[in-house]
Point group: C2
Amino acid sequence: MAERRKVGNLLALAVLSYLTQRPMHPYELSRTLREHGDARSIKFNHGSLYMVVGQLAKAGFIAEQETTREGQRPERTVYALTDSGRHELRDWMRDLVEYPQHEYPHFVAALSLIGALPPSEVVKLLRRRLDRLAEQCVEIRAIIDDTLGKGVPGLFVVEEEYRLTLLEAESSFVERFVEQIIHPKTGWGRIWAEFHGEPTPTDERQQS
Amino acid sequence: MAERRKVGNLLALAVLSYLTQRPMHPYELSRTLREHGDARSIKFNHGSLYMVVGQLAKAGFIAEQETTREGQRPERTVYALTDSGRHELRDWMRDLVEYPQHEYPHFVAALSLIGALPPSEVVKLLRRRLDRLAEQCVEIRAIIDDTLGKGVPGLFVVEEEYRLTLLEAESSFVERFVEQIIHPKTGWGRIWAEFHGEPTPTDERQQS
DNA sequence: GGGGTCATGTAATAGGTTACATGATTCT
DNA sequence: AGAATCATGTAACCTATTACATGACCCC
């Protein structure tokens, strides 16, 4: 489970995966990744790609196959997957699917220090957050519908469905949280506000 | 929104937050962070802490206040929050609470490349994942109950409640996904399996 | 009083991001 | 023909993680 991989960057996983189809040179990988929209799921960045390709080659997961040159353009080095690379890809995928990872989303960090802001402000900010979350939901819906509309099978948008699930869960969490804060009798707002030297808040449920 | 901060590591946020209480030296911060359990929400690591403190000092958000030494132990440099640091803390928190960030969880990456594994295996792995997710849920529940049991107000475990919400959402997503794959008539399993050269799967719903 | 572990920090290394460079192609 | 953009890669810089170092305290 989550062993220390020789190459840990998830971009490498995408590279391995694309190379199962055919050998490619880095720029082609780059283009394909971006076009295929994988950059939404895996942090992508031109510089890192070359780094990762280098690491994979050093680790023996891919191998330089040929070096061609067209006209005066820089040389393009074509890489192919090795057996060891094919194995690494499967093994890594199994790992990722079976074992949930402890991660550190930004919002978790913010929540853990939320007491640093006064509750009246937090409520305002959370309501704005709800709007943004809703926007993101429609955006993702659009991507999904658009892709399915082109006849692509649903399996290829499953990661977007997942995101959507999480966004919806977050939204309803935030709604509940806001209620907890502003609930006039049992809410946390009172002591929290006092701690910040704010006037005891009135019931704000009707606002914006 | 999400401007380029002088110091971007979320550990720095925790440091700023702790220093609002009183000036401390790095090791004290380190201990406090670990004891207070913030390491579950913010990636923490001894080395990074010193780095971050250095960065914060260079950026003027904290300032060296005094340097003491007890016996022959190394010097301890005590840092205090500056006005600019206090401002940065609030500003950063507002940012994090209001704006959802696009993040890259490992599972999303795996889903986006899920076709690399054959469906029969994916189903097996997803079922195992469900078990692990359930374990994590009870673990978090325990932390929450334990903390509340000590009389700590609920506000201080809100980040764990959030995690829990996300875990539950993920669980139900995975359950639905498994159903999608194995559904005998409308499921994705059939073509997917063929693509991998596997025998067309039978209805596996009764298995483990 | 020798073997752990706590307290405290620095240095070495590896990893990732940004900036730079340069010929080719296309647009106006 | 000059400007913008694509194609392709390297180098410089920052950030983060691991490893190392050393005196104090505690236990048996």
